[in-house]
Amino acid sequence: MFYREAGDFKTSYKDDNQTFPIRLDRAGYWVALAVAFLIVPFMVNDYWVNAIFAPFFIYAIAALGLNILTGYAGQVSLGTGGFMAVGAYACYKLMVAFPEVNIVFHVLISGGITAVVGVAFGLPSLRIKGFYLAVATLASQFFLVWLFNKVPWFYNYSASGQINAPERSVFGVVVTGPHTEAWAKYLICLIFLVALAWIARNLTRGMMGRKWMGIRDMDIAAEIIGVNPLMAKMTAFAASSFFVGVAGALFFSVYLGAAEAGESFGITKSFLILFMIIIGGLGSIFGSFAGAAFMVLMPVLLKNVLVGMMGWPTDLAAHLEFMIVGGLIVFFLIVEPHGLAQLWRLTKDKLRLWPFPH
C-alpha cells in the first residue's frame, strides 16, 4: 500500500538507474544509515560490538569481496581465508614498521597487497573453471597459511608465531589494542563497511561489473562481444582480494587483536565465507550482508536462546545449533533456492502489489 512505485516519477536516466528506485527504500536506506551512525554508537557495549557488530561488519566486507569474484564474475574461490591472512599479516608488518602512519592507511595498503597476491593466485582461472577452480584456489589457501606459519619474518620472530596488534589510533581515538572503546571499534568497522559497500555497488553496476557478469554468464560469448577475459578476470580477482584483504586486516587488528595463521585463517574460514554468499545470494550486495548476518548472528542468537534462556547444557545446545543452522539452510533452499537476497526481492515484489494483488 505504501510500498509502491506509482507516483514516483523518474525524469532522468540517472534517477531511473539509482540503487533504490522506490521512495520507501530510499528512505529506509537513509534511516538505517542514520541509526547505524548516529544512534547505535551511543548504545553499544563491549558485548554487542565484540560478539555481534564487529564480526558481522568484517565478515560482510569479506563476503562482499568474495561475492564480486564468485557472484559477479563467476569464479568460485576457496582461498578467502588465505587472502584474509595476507591482509592481516601485511597489516601487522605495517603497523609495527611504521607506527606513526595512520592505521586507516595500513588497512588500505594491506588490501592493496592482498590484491596483488590475489591476482597472482588468480592466474590459473584463465584455464580452469567451475569446481575445478574452487579446488585449485584451495592451493593458495593452504600454501599461504603454511608460508605465514613457516617464515618467522612475518611474525617478527616471536617464539610462538602469534601476532599481536599494538595500540593505534585514528584522530586521537584508540581503535586497536585492548583499550579500544566499544563505539570506536564499532564505528571504524562500520565506516569501512559502508565505504566498501558503496564502492562494490558502483563497481558492479558499471562497465566493470557488466564485463564480469558477461564472463560469468558465458565467457566465450563475452569474449566475442569484446570483453577481454584476462582483464575481466584479473580485475575481479584484484577487486575481490582487496576487499578480502581489508577484511583480514580489520579482523586481526581491530576485532581479534591477536591471530595465528593456521587457526584464525584456516580452511574453515574460506568455507564459512563461501557459505555466506551462497546463502545470502550470489551476485547481490544485499545478499552479502544477509549471508554474513545469518552465519554470524544465527549461532550467537541460538546459543543465547538455548543456553541463556532455556538453560540447556552447552554441548547439547552446540549440537542443536548445528542442526538448526543446517536445517534452516536446507529449508530456505527448498522454499527459495536463490538465497536470502531473492527471498527479500520476492517479498518486496509481493509488497508492491499488496493489498491488491491484481
Binding site: 599481536n164 591477536a258 595465528e260 587457526e263 538453560g311
Partner: protein, 428 residues
C-alpha cells in the same frame, strides 16, 4: 515432532536447571564439541565438579558460593571472544580458557579489564614473568618447564650424559607446538645432543611421512607436542614402526587415557610429562564421588573422574578456589572483585600441609607465587602408560627444571612483548 521434542526438552530443562545464586564466578570457556572435544570434555567436567564439590561440601569459599557458567568455544578464537564478553558481565573473577589461541587473544583484553587469566600448563609461556604480564598466571609449570623436564628424564636415563644422542621433537605446526623449540635448542647446545624438529600440520590425521622420517633417522628419543587427533595417530604410528615406546615422551597435553587407548596394548610404555598427580587414589576424588557424582550433580556422566585431563581440571579449579580464599583473606571481604582475585593469585601459597587438608597430598608441588614470578616452581614428573591395567602411573618425583636455560628465554620473550606494547614493569 521436532517441535514437540524441543518444547518438551526446554520445559524439562527449565525445571531441572535451577539457577544457583552465587557470587564467586569462574566462567568455564569449555569445548565439548569440535576437533578437540576429546580433551575439552574431561577438563570442563573436572573444573566444574571441583567447584560443585566446594559448594556442596563446604558451602563455597569463605561462605560464598561458587558459580561456573559454561560457555562453548569449540576451540574457536572468535567464539572465545564472544564467550569472554558474554560472561565478563556476570562478574567473572578469572578465566581459564584451555586454548593457546584464546589465551593470546585475552591477554591484552583481560589485563585492560583487570581480570586475571589462569593458564596452567598452556598459553603464553613467557607470561611467567609477572613483571610484564601482570594479569596472567601459569603456575605451576609451563611448556618450557615441560621440555626441560623431559630432557632431565632423558639425562637420568643416560647417567647425565647426552653427547651424540639424537632427539627429535614431533610437534603440532602452530603456536602451541612451536613453543618448546627455543628451549630444546638451548638445552641441546648445553648437553650436546643433536636436536631437530618434525612438524605436523593440523589436524594431524595423517602422519605417515613424519614417522617414516623418524624411522629412517633412528633418533634415540622422540619428544612430542600434540593435541587432538594428532595424539592418537602419533601413538599408533609410533607403535606401528616399533619405535621403543619408553623413548617416546609427550608433553602433558599428549598424555591422557584417550590418547593411548586407540592404540591398544602397543601403547604400553609411552611416557608423558605431568605437572600433577594421576589416578583417583586421592581422598578428594572420594569426596567428588560422594558429594557430586552420586548426588547426580556431576557435569559429565562421572566416568571421567580420575582421568588425567579431568584431574587437571580439578587441579586448576583448586588453584582458583585457593586464590579466591587468599584474596578474601588479604582484602577482608568475602565477596571479592576480579582485581582482588588477581592479588590473591599473586600471593598464593600452596603448602604440602594445605594440599593434605584438601585431600590432594602429593598431587602437586608446594610453591609460592610472587609479583615477579607468575610461573611457579616449574616442577614436573614423568608418567607412564600401562595398557594392561589401563592406568597411568608416575615413575618419577616432581623434579625441578633447568631454570638457568629457561629464565633468560622468558625474560627475552616477555621483554620483547613489553617493548612492542609499551608495558611498564609492575613490580617494585
Amino acid at each position: 515432532m521436532t517441535y514437540k521434542r524441543v518444547a518438551a526438552a526446554s520445559v524439562a530443562a527449565l525445571m531441572v536447571a535451577s539457577p544457583v545464586m552465587a557470587d564467586l564466578v569462574f566462567p568455564s570457556l569449555s569445548y565439548r564439541t569440535g576437533p578437540f572435544a576429546a580433551g575439552g570434555i574431561p577438563y570442563a567436567d573436572g573444573f566444574a565438579d571441583y567447584m560443585t564439590l566446594l559448594n556442596e561440601r563446604d558451602g563455597g569459599v569463605g561462605g560464598v558460593k561458587l558459580q561456573v557458567p559454561e560457555c562453548e568455544t569449540a576451540y574457536n578464537t572468535e567464539k572465545g571472544v564472544e564467550c569472554y564478553e558474554a560472561t565478563k558481565g556476570q562478574g567473572a573473577l578469572a578465566y581459564n580458557p584451555l586454548s593457546t589461541g584464546i589465551t593470546y587473544q585475552l591477554i591484552p583484553k583481560a589485563t585492560a579489564d583487570d581480570i586475571p587469566l589462569y593458564t596452567p600448563g598452556y598459553g603464553r609461556t613467557s607470561a611467567a614473568n609477572g613483571n610484564v604480564f601482570s594479569h596472567v598466571f601459569n603456575f605451576p609449570a609451563n611448556y618450557w618447564n615441560g621440555a626441560s623436564a623431559a630432557v632431565n628424564h632423558i639425562l637420568d636415563l643416560n647417567g647425565g650424559d647426552l653427547k651424540g644422542k639424537k632427539v627429535i621433537l614431533l610437534h603440532f605446526n602452530g603456536a602451541y607446538g612451536k613453543e618448546p623449540i627455543p628451549t630444546l635448542t638451548a638445552l641441546g647446545e648445553k648437553h650436546g645432543f643433536d636436536f631437530s624438529t618434525v612438524p605436523v600440520d593440523y589436524p594431524g590425521q595423517e602422519q605417515k611421512s613424519q614417522w617414516l622420517q623418524i624411522r629412517r633417522e633412528k633418533p634415540d628419543y622422540v619428544l612430542f607436542w600434540g593435541w587432538g587427533v594428532m595424539n592418537q595417530v602419533a601413538v599408533q604410528e609410533a607403535a606401528n614402526i616399533r619405535f621403543p615406546m619408553e623413548n617416546f615422551i609427550g608433553v602433558w597435553w599428549s598424555g591422557a587415557e584417550h590418547d593411548v587407548k586407540p592404540a591398544g596394548d602397543a601403547a604400553t610404555g609411552y611416557k608423558a610429562v605431568a605437572f600433577h598427580g594421576v589416578g583417583n587414589d586421592y581422598p578428594v576424588f572420594g569426596d567428588i564421588n560422594k558429594y557430586v557424582v552420586e548426588a547426580g550433580k556431576a557435569a559429565g556422566d562421572g566416568s571421567n573422574v580420575g582421568t588425567v585431563i579431568y584431574n587437571r581440571g580439578v587441579y586448576a579449579a583448586m588453584m582458583l578456589a585457593e586464590a579466591a580464599k587468599k584474596a578474601q583473606e588479604i582484602h577482608g571481604v568475602a565477596d571479592i572483585t576480579s582485581g582482588q582475585m588477581r592479588d590473591g593469585l599473586e600471593q598464593l601459597e600452596i603448602t604440602n600441609a594445605r594440599m593434605a587438608e584438601l585431600g590432594m597430598e602429593g598431587f602437586g608441588p608446594e610453591f609460592k607465587v610472587s609479583c615477579a614470578n607468575h610461573g611457579g616452581p616449574g616442577t614436573a614428573a614423568i608418567q607412564q602408560w600401562d595398557a594392561a591395567s589401563g592406568k597411568w602411573s608416575l615413575i618419577s618425583d616432581f623434579g625441578p627444571s633447568d631454570m638457568d636455560v629457561i629464565q633468560p628465554l622468558i625474560t627475552a620473550d616477555s621483554e620483547a612483548y613489553a617493548a612492542e606494547n609499551n608495558i611498564e614493569p609492575q613490580c617494585k
